[in-house]
Symmetry: C2
DNA sequence: TCGGATTTTTAGAATCGTTCTAATTTAGAA
DNA sequence: TTCTAAATTAGAACGATTCTAAAAATCCGA
């Protein structure tokens, strides 16, 4: 789970800024999330992490996820009554959760829409974060065709 | 927790339509949620319900909330790592969660915005439901002044 | 490079919110 | 009524997450 230099730099800087230490485990977990950009749960991240770092513990995975979120490298995604999922937060986007397959899709949010949403609140309300998620059914996936929005 | 006739009718019809029985407990829980339109958790609904129906159980509260949701009388609201909250679902709206006070505010969603959001998904994606929630800090509330958006 | 303060990791226990189980009660239909 | 199905209940069980306390790793300054 070696990070490519670009992400390694971003990783070190982000933790540095928060006064957190860039440990092997944190880097590893970040690597796992970057590797396959589906939206794994903590348990899934744990399972994948153990493949190449068998001694890592579940508690550490939770700890690492927490520090990655604090550092802004990863964000958490919640769906009704489902365990929290995690994704590397490149850019602002929404999520679509298919209730049939459980699969999660990224949904691109145009800047104009984001601005519109932020203006829904009266002045004085400071937004730290917002989450937009859809629940429904995705079209049956044609196995080898490109899917929209971004598959996961 | 007696429902006023208008809500009683709505209640009976909604359950009827789902083939569910309009029991004392269901009506009571619905009344509790209508009474004070904050966004109580299941535990809070349980505590309030017990005041005038001391024998009701927590399991029943969960069951009732579930059937009320199925009937479309109530909707659930989720915030990151917080227990599920419940609100009577009059109309489509978003939520703002103040991380300082824990208070939840309703945010009105103009029809145009709803339409915009629904169009973010490519054709083929069937939306059953969507949730938009903000997290941040609400302005310090002046105790007796009207608040925006709808207080809770 | 070493030593010590501080942070992080770890395993396992504990906690929280929620769902399940099995027995009892209730509602609604015949 | 009487029967059947649905709903309620208490408590156990569960899944996800957090906590605890001890061991290990990291960082900093000498």
């Amino acid at each position: 789970m070696k990070l490519i230099p670009e992400f390694k730099l971003e990783f070190d800087e982000a933790l540095e800024k928060m006064g957190l230490r860039p440990t092997r485990q944190r880097e590893h977990v970040y690597g796992v999330i970057l590797e396959k950009r589906d939206h794994p749960t903590a348990e899934e991240v744990y399972a994948r992490s153990k493949e190449s770092m068998p001694t890592i513990s579940l508690a550490t995975v939770y700890n690492c996820l927490e520090t990655l979120i604090q550092s802004g490298l990863v964000r958490s995604v919640n769906f009704d009554r489902e365990p929290t999922r995690y994704c590397p937060n490149l850019q602002e986007h929404a999520h679509f959760h298919c209730s049939k397959t459980g699969r999660v899709y990224d949904v691109h949010l145009p800047g104009a829409v984001i601005k519109t949403l932020e203006h829904l609140l009266p002045s004085g309300f400071k937004i730290r974060n917002f989450e937009l998620s859809f629940d429904g059914e995705a079209p049956a996936a044609k196995p080898s065709a490109p899917k929209h929005p971004t598959d996961s």
